[in-house]
């Protein structure tokens, strides 16, 4: 049996090498020198769209020497909201997390301010619209960065042929591809007349009155175009006003010409309505058109996405921005902010928009005329007006301008659509208003 002995020289050499390695280790820039970061992105429904996000993140990670892990979280079953609630309660979770509409405000106290990155991004990409500021900022503190992925406008998507045939409206002429909208006559009155004509023609407008977001978003934009607010920006109750009464009267007339089952519609119902060829108009981002392109190409060829009709107080379009937030308890805030800056670069935004076939919308003023929207088809130019390139409508979210924590309750409880249904089903106007006032009082608890 042999026994290896360590000589004095070997011992000194080994000790010197080990010490040198220990001392210099922190200064060596290894593959993951800037630490780790975990990301929770919204799981995109467009095939291949997640790949674009992965590529952009990996590109940044390789440059910054950061180890990344990405979870794609579905919005099905409110999984994103559940994840946000769980991480907020556990004070642990992703370093960057996708947050829909109201959630930055709901967890404002737990989010790391991102003013330091938002200011340069805005300087570079142009200003953001009022709804992004309303949802993403508390006072002067930016709570989260507007995400291109998942942000959408839920304006009208109409059938060119059916509107022409039954309502005598040439929607392509009104909203020409590549040109300014000529929509001065596109108001609530003409909208209602068109809805009546299409209903008579057997292809009613498909506007939901359920309790999911599509229904609430449409109601929100229509209420705002009448100047109807349930709670104003100061937090005062403003339910019993003439503007709210006018909006309810309008909805009562509209509901009379909608399909009889709209009270039970969810966010898939309007898509199915368009794709099945049963309706002349729905309110939706271009997802319904994209599915029609695959499943019913003859219908997709007749779809045109355009602006909302205007009301007495303006032209409002339902807008739902997504955000990317970083928790104040995140372990790698610097890396998170660096990544968010990378994802908000014009080249990244262009890639997101292209990968989603034009569905995803950047929040910035300079980014609404990308070539994807100009080129997507058939018919070519169908998405040109989707990102509101000529700013001819105000992008808004239902229940605004109420303070966001109150507005979120109005939105989640679908108070607007419930009011419309109650009144349309025969409840007296004052009874409906009293019910809504009671609900809103309850939403004000802190």
């Amino acid at each position: 049996m042999s026994r290896k002995t360590l000589t004095r020289r070997q011992f000194v050499a080994a000790t010197a090498m080990s010490s040198a390695a220990l001392i210099t280790a922190p200064y060596v820039r290894g593959a993951y020198a800037a630490g780790k970061i975990s990301i929770g992105f919204w799981d995109h429904w467009v095939p291949g769209a997640n790949k674009a996000s992965t590529e952009l993140v990996n590109e940044w990670a390789a440059k910054e020497k950061v180890e990344v892990s990405i979870d794609y979280i579905t919005s099905q079953g409110k999984k994103i909201e559940l994840t946000i609630a769980a991480e907020a309660a556990a004070k642990s979770g992703h370093d960057v997390l996708a947050m829909p509409t109201w959630w930055p405000h709901a967890h404002a106290e737990l989010l790391e301010p991102v003013n330091d990155i938002m200011e340069p991004i805005i300087k570079q990409n142009g200003d953001v619209n009022g709804t992004v500021k309303y949802l993403g900022r508390a006072g002067n503190k930016w709570l989260a960065v507007p995400a291109t992925i998942g942000s959408q406008i839920k304006g009208p998507c109409s059938r060119i042929d059916l509107l022409k045939k039954f309502a005598n409206i040439d929607i392509q002429e009104m909203y020409p591809a590549g040109g300014q909208p000529k929509a001065d006559n596109w108001n609530m009155e003409t909208f209602l007349k068109a809805a009546e004509a299409c209903q008579k023609g057997g292809v009613p407008f498909g506007i939901g009155l359920g309790e999911t977001t599509d229904s609430t978003d449409t109601a929100g934009a229509i209420f705002q175009s009448f100047g109807a607010e349930l709670v104003n920006a100061k937090g005062d109750l403003t339910v019993k006003t003439d503007a709210v009464r006018q909006a309810l009267e309008f909805y009562k007339k509209l509901i009379a010409v909608l399909p009889p089952d709209v009270a039970a519609w969810d966010d898939a119902s309007n898509n199915k309505w368009l794709i099945s060829g049963k309706g002349a108009l729905i309110m939706n981002p271009p997802s319904a058109w994209a599915v029609a392109k695959r499943d019913a190409p003859q219908i997709a060829e007749q779809c045109w996405t355009h602006g909302m009709p205007s009301g007495p107080k303006g032209r409002y379009a339902p807008y739902l921005p997504y955000f990317w937030g970083t928790w104040s308890f995140s372990k790698n805030k610097e890396a998170a902010k660096s990544l968010l800056t990378h994802l908000s670069q014009p080249s990244s935004i262009e890639k997101f928009v292209a990968a989603s076939g034009g569905y995803d919308l950047p929040a910035y003023a300079n980014m609404t005329t990308l070539k994807t929207w100009q080129e997507e088809g058939p018919p070519k130019g169908t998405l040109y007006h989707y990102p509101n390139p000529h700013n001819h409508q105000t992008l808004s979210i239902a229940a605004s301008p109420a303070p966001p924590k109150i507005a979120q309750q109005i939105y989640a409880q679908a108070t607007l659509t419930k009011m419309c249904l109650r009144y349309a089903q025969g409840e007296k106007m004052e009874a409906t208003l009293a019910w809504a006032e009671g609900e809103c009082e309850g939403f004000m608890r802190s």
């Binding site: 009270a263 039970a264 099945s276 309750q409 802190s446």
Partner: protein, 312 residues
């Protein structure tokens, strides 16, 4: 004089030996073995049930932003809300109606199956259990398509007979009917199998004696079958009542509480308020409101079971 020390029984045994013996005795007890064997389950339940239960109690005492203790403030707030009382009413209608129909259908079907010759009975038992073994989230999706507001397969069929279209999920009354129907469809097989097991344990001699006494079929059911099944009926009803009160998936998938909140039950409204409305403490309070209702039901039913057990 003998120098031997006579050891008195039970006296002067060294303390360590006594301890060892008593530990040995404890370990040899059947109850100790049973406890040790159930310990993993007890730990699991503590982790997954007891801890969340106490945590939700804690949450229910916080204000909306979860930063301040408000005691029973959330419950006081809920008691002033009309929608909350609507949800209480609907939860009771939903749970009681569904449990009554599940019990009734389960009882009748169990009798049918019991009377099938033993050879073919297994097939029927297996087939009748299918609704109960499919995850309800999946089967309810199929029901959703059957009830779809615009493309309902039921309405399509009814149209051949000149009936409809029926707004299955768009009208409050029909929507309530739809969610109860799906719950009954899903839960009746559980009652059926429990009642079938109970029926099989009723001694044939009792029926023979009843027949000799000239009892008709109704008297046999009333004086023999039902008394022999009382405990099973009570426990099954309690168990189903708890599960039905706490139902979430069927209502969430089929109607999401609509139209106009007319199908919301505690769990779906708690989710709407707590998760979708970002008011976790209020959501926790809504879901905890079930506890006293179910606790009272449990006390009454289990006390009755106990009483009958003693009578036996």
């Amino acid at each position: 004089m003998a120098d031997a020390v006579v050891r008195q029984p039970g006296v002067a045994r060294p303390a360590s030996a006594r301890k060892r013996a008593s530990l040995h005795n404890i370990l040899r007890r059947k109850s100790t073995a049973a406890f040790l064997m159930t310990l993993p389950l007890i730990l699991l339940i503590t982790l997954l049930v007891v801890y969340p239960a106490f945590y939700s109690l804690h949450l229910a005492t916080l204000n909306k932003s979860m930063q301040r203790f408000v005691g029973f403030g959330n419950f006081e707030f809920l008691f002033r809300r009309d929608t909350f009382w609507l949800v209480v009413k609907q939860s009771c209608i939903f749970a009681i109606t569904a449990v009554v129909f599940k019990a009734l259908i389960g009882f009748i079907v169990a009798h049918f199956v019991h009377n099938i010759p033993a050879k073919g009975q297994r097939k029927w038992r297996g087939m009748l259990l299918v609704p109960w073994v499919i995850p309800p989230a999946m089967s309810t999706l199929a029901w959703l398509w059957l009830f779809d507001p615009s493309y309902s397969a039921f309405n399509y069929t009814l149209a051949f007979f000149g009936i409809g279209p029926i707004p299955w999920t768009g009208d409050a009354a029909w929507a309530r009917f739809a969610v109860i129907l799906v719950n009954v469809w899903y839960g009746a097989p559980f009652f059926m199998i429990m009642y079938l097991a109970a029926l099989k344990s009723v001694p044939d001699q009792l029926y023979e004696a009843a027949a000799i006494d000239g009892a008709n079929w109704w008297q046999r059911i009333w004086y023999v079958t039902l008394p022999m099944m009382r405990n099973i009926i009570a426990i099954t009803t309690l168990f189903s009542l708890i599960v039905t009160f706490a139902n979430f998936d069927i209502v969430r998938i089929l109607t999401a509480g609509g139209p106009l909140d007319h199908t919301h039950i505690f769990a779906t409204w708690a989710f709407r308020v707590g998760i979708e409305g970002s008011d976790i403490p209020l959501g926790a309070s809504v879901s905890l409101f079930m506890v006293p209702i179910l606790a009272v039901a449990a006390i009454f039913i289990l006390r009755d079971v106990n009483k009958r057990g003693n009578e036996a």
